[in-house]
């Protein structure tokens, strides 16, 4: 458009000034017309940009600022009961942490809890997904019922299982007594507390793995299975050579989220044992909670929080890399 106008202007230069004036006028008209429109347009554009930028800013500020603040806090010796307030000590919190046996204990408990829980859930989730991927009467209902446990309030899940594990009158020991076994004091014994905690999460979060893997299995074209069956492949061959390789992305996906959530699991452990007896179920997340809100060692806790974040990040990034390569 402007190019055309320019041509007109150059072409008309030799002709009468009246004509030039006319064109000038029409350009001016054009500019003012487009000017108003442009202002209106840019106004809406500005509003539009605000609509887009502000939520982003809010989202970023809400998540990035606390994380940054936690890191900064971790560089301070900060005891909430101390009237002197925080004191900058660099990375001393980190070196103190690495020589603290209770920190290493909580790392060990976290590793134990996470590895046993997640590997159990992957195997169980796969079995449930295979089962629910078959066609039988009522499978639709089962598929939708199956996802319900994972939406239940985690605290209530913890309380429910605390009740079931109760040595006097709890359902688990009652059923054990029916077959002549004298059940242990599950949550009160350092040897059985962690298995009980793990069992609870197996019940609670296995459906998550199951649902993801089920979605994966159902998205595999049935012709593939039919062709394999026609070629005479056995059920176990089909599973190992077809289902499993095709499910790899879904397996990594559920593994990623299970690892992330298991490493920061708090609610149900807190209400079931509160880290006890002794510190036999005190995972890192609980350890940090007690260090912050009972011992009031804010700087030290923030440092441990950063370590936990780095651990989760490290584990996740390995899986994310694998997922991206697939």
């Amino acid at each position: 458009m402007p190019k055309q106008v320019k041509e007109e202007v150059t072409a008309s230069r030799g002709e009468g000034s009246k004509h030039l004036q006319h064109i000038n006028q029409s350009i001016r008209d054009d500019v003012s017309r487009f000017g108003i429109k442009a202002i209106l347009f840019s106004d809406s554009e500005r509003l539009y940009k605000m609509l887009v930028v502000i939520p982003f800013g809010v989202l970023f500020a809400l998540t990035a600022l606390p994380l940054l603040a936690t890191f900064v806090t971790s560089l301070f010796g900060w005891y909430l009961g101390d009237p002197m307030g925080p004191k900058f000590i660099g990375f001393s919190n980190y070196s103190q942490m690495f020589s603290d046996p209770t920190f290493w204990n909580s790392i060990g408990k976290t590793a134990y809890q996470v590895i046993v829980t997640v590997s159990g859930q992957m195997v169980l989730g796969m079995s449930f997904a295979l089962l629910l991927s078959r066609k039988f009467r009522g499978v639709g209902l089962l598929r939708s019922l199956y996802i319900i446990p994972m939406m239940i309030t985690p605290v209530i899940v913890g309380l429910l299982w605390r009740m079931l594990f109760n040595p006097s009158g709890g359902a688990i020991n009652y059923f054990l007594s029916l077959v002549g076994i004298h059940g242990p004091n599950w949550l009160g014994d350092t040897r059985t507390a962690m298995p009980a905690i793990i069992l609870t999460d197996l019940w609670f979060s296995t459906p998550f793995v199951g649902v993801i893997l089920l979605a994966g299995i159902l998205s595999i074209p049935t012709e593939i299975f039919e062709a394999a069956r026609v070629d005479g492949a056995s059920a176990s061959k089909i599973f190992w050579n077809i289902t499993l390789p095709l499910l790899r992305p879904m397996i990594f996906l559920s593994l990623l989220f299970r690892l992330m959530d298991a490493m920061k699991r708090f609610d149900s452990i807190y209400v079931m044992t509160g880290g006890g007896p002794g510190n036999s179920t005190e995972t890192l997340d609980l350890h940090i909670y007690f260090a912050t809100f009972e011992n009031l060692q804010v700087g030290y806790s923030a440092a441990m929080g950063c370590v936990l974040l780095v651990l989760i990040f490290g584990v996740s990034i390995v899986i994310l890399r694998k997922m991206e390569n697939e």
């Binding site: 609509l51 982003f56 998540t63 806090t73 009158g169 993801i212 989220f257 490493m263 997340d285 989760i312």
Partner: protein, 231 residues
């Protein structure tokens, strides 16, 4: 006392739970916080999700990564600075601070879920609206958002459930006046002993709305729970 198969059903426990002022108060608190969190998350999450769904720029990719990263962070890394800030501002035990804290988990979730719903719309839809003379804002509010109504409903339900189930932040940020039911329910367990009957009745009352809504929101469940890593 072993549990027995033959028992007399009674509503006595429910009567006892509902007769407790703190439980009812906690229930109302949970409702206020959950609805407050969800409405704010929807206001910001819908427009952020929309802009992420546009093909232009690398923003979408980085934002997706950031949302996954934020999901990795243990709640305690958000809770420590927020607790320090709110206690410094004398804002502990305050609905507003609880809602801000809850938004750290609900907002990224709603944003990512909405991005998916907007992405599923054909791009011609917005173009057609623009050609017919809508401004971008009009196109967004009159055409696009109404087209993803069911997605907005899914986000609303999920956001509410997430906030309703939240425990850790509530334990730290809430106080006597704003304590939600997830924290209050623990008071049924005391050193003097636990009233299991009342506890289960209370638990059922807490879980009931979640179960009800889960059935309605199944559609977006997977996409929501794995936000950030699935396209």
């Amino acid at each position: 006392m072993p549990p027995s198969i033959i028992f007399k059903p009674s509503l006595e426990n429910f009567r006892m739970v509902l007769g407790r002022g703190s439980f009812v108060h906690g229930y109302i608190n949970s409702l206020v916080i959950a609805l407050g969190t969800t409405s704010i998350a929807l206001i910001f999450g819908i427009s952020a999700g929309y802009s992420l769904s546009r093909p232009s720029g690398q923003g979408s990719k980085y934002m997706g990564r950031w949302i996954v990263l934020a999901r990795m962070a243990p709640p305690v890394t958000f809770a420590i600075p927020l607790y320090l800030a709110f206690s410094h501002l004398k804002m502990l035990d305050n609905y507003f601070s609880l809602i801000i804290t809850y938004l750290t988990i609900v907002l990224p979730f709603v944003t990512w879920l909405m991005r998916g719903f907007f992405k599923s719309l054909p791009p011609e839809m917005e173009e057609a609206a623009r050609i017919d003379g809508c401004s971008r804002i009009q196109a967004l509010f009159r055409i696009l958002i109404p087209s993803v109504k069911s997605g907005v409903a899914t986000c609303a339900i999920f956001g509410t459930i997430m906030a309703w189930n939240e425990f850790f932040y509530a334990l730290i940020i809430s106080g006597r006046n704003t304590r939600p039911v997830s924290v209050d329910i623990q008071t049924f367990i005391s050193a003097a002993g636990t009233d299991w009957g009342a506890l289960t009745a209370a638990g059922l009352l807490v879980v009931a709305p979640v179960l009800l809504f889960t059935v309605f929101a199944q559609k977006g469940l997977l996409r929501g729970l794995t936000s950030g890593s699935v396209k």
